[in-house]
């Protein structure tokens, strides 16, 4: 059966008992959700488990969706939280190594023809702290707005901006774009800097 309704229509149909509506919602968003899961978890199996956990959670809790946010925002938020929950449980399990972010997984079709710069960007991205990487993935890689990303991450927009700024500065350094630029740390202590973080 073909569905032509909006995401919100599909979710409402699912809540109303339509057996196929949620499967269609997953079909629409699965690639974007997978991209975020994989880049958040950094490990294929962890990402697959998190995506499955998240979709089952969304399926069961569809009534909790509030129309003030977009369905895709809501789904991404559930995926990000599932990744975090799995990472937390993994850290708490004795003798279990955390999923390593040694390198962002290459795309399945990545081959020796992949440009070196792209591989460099993947490696650099994987080296960022989790919170910075997540903000960068949503805003710069996936192209989400700061406001939408803030809703996904459940933080203030200023926090997203600040994490993006720190992440970009680090990436620019890792990618060698700052070789000719002045060394960092020239800001005189007297220069009062106020940030928007938390706002």
């Amino acid at each position: 059966m073909a569905f032509f309704g909006s995401d919100a229509d599909l979710l409402a149909a699912h809540v109303g008992g339509d057996a196929q509506a949620f499967a269609e919602l997953f079909r629409r968003h699965r690639d974007r959700l997978w991209s975020v899961a994989l880049r958040t978890a950094g490990d294929r199996e962890e990402a697959a488990d998190a995506l499955q956990d998240a979709m089952i959670s969304a399926f069961r809790n569809a009534r909790s969706f509030r129309a003030e946010s977009r369905v895709s925002t809501w789904l991404h938020r559930i995926v990000v939280n599932a990744c975090r929950d799995r990472a937390r449980r993994r850290r708490c399990r004795p003798g279990t190594a955390p999923a390593g972010h040694t390198a962002e997984p290459a795309a399945p079709d990545a081959s020796t023809t992949e440009p070196d710069t792209r591989a460099d960007v993947r490696t650099a991205l994987a080296a960022l702290p989790d919170e910075q990487r997540l903000a960068i993935v949503l805003v710069d890689v996936q192209g989400w707005s700061v406001a939408e990303s803030a809703a996904v991450l459940d933080v203030a927009p200023g926090t997203v901006k600040s994490r993006c700024a720190r992440g970009r500065a680090r990436l620019a350094e890792l990618l060698g774009h700052l070789r000719n630029a002045a060394a960092d740390g020239d800001v005189p202590p007297a220069m009062a800097v106020r940030r928007q973080e938390g706002r």
């Binding site: 339509d18 500065a169 620019a172 990618l175 020239d186």
Partner: protein, 99 residues
């Protein structure tokens, strides 16, 4: 001469992460400084490279696994609530396989 900025501060300026007073104070100092311009260009280059990263299509095995788990959810829901087994138009029985 000490510069009134760091790479971190310029990244925050560019991201709109500074409050308006700080940003307004910093902008004229940055505008006439070629080194600051280089940093801002480097940050823009970084963003452009990030935007060029390809989407990562969900692998077939993961796609099928999640679809199968959702199918099981549909069957469980249908077993618990037989009255909800309606099609998309609300008139016919749903596909018990969950599509």
């Amino acid at each position: 001469m000490r510069r009134p900025w760091s790479v971190q501060l310029l990244a925050e300026l560019q991201a709109g992460a500074l409050d308006e007073d700080t940003a307004a104070r910093l902008r004229p100092q940055v505008r006439d400084d070629p080194a600051a311009g280089e940093v801002l260009t480097a940050l823009e280059t970084t963003r452009a490279q990030l935007a060029e990263l390809p989407a990562l299509p969900v692998p077939a095995d993961v796609r099928d696994r999640v679809a199968s788990a959702l199918g099981a959810e549909v069957r469980t829901a249908a077993a618990e609530r037989p009255d909800r087994q309606v099609g998309a138009d609300g008139t016919g029985p749903a596909d018990p396989s969950g599509g």
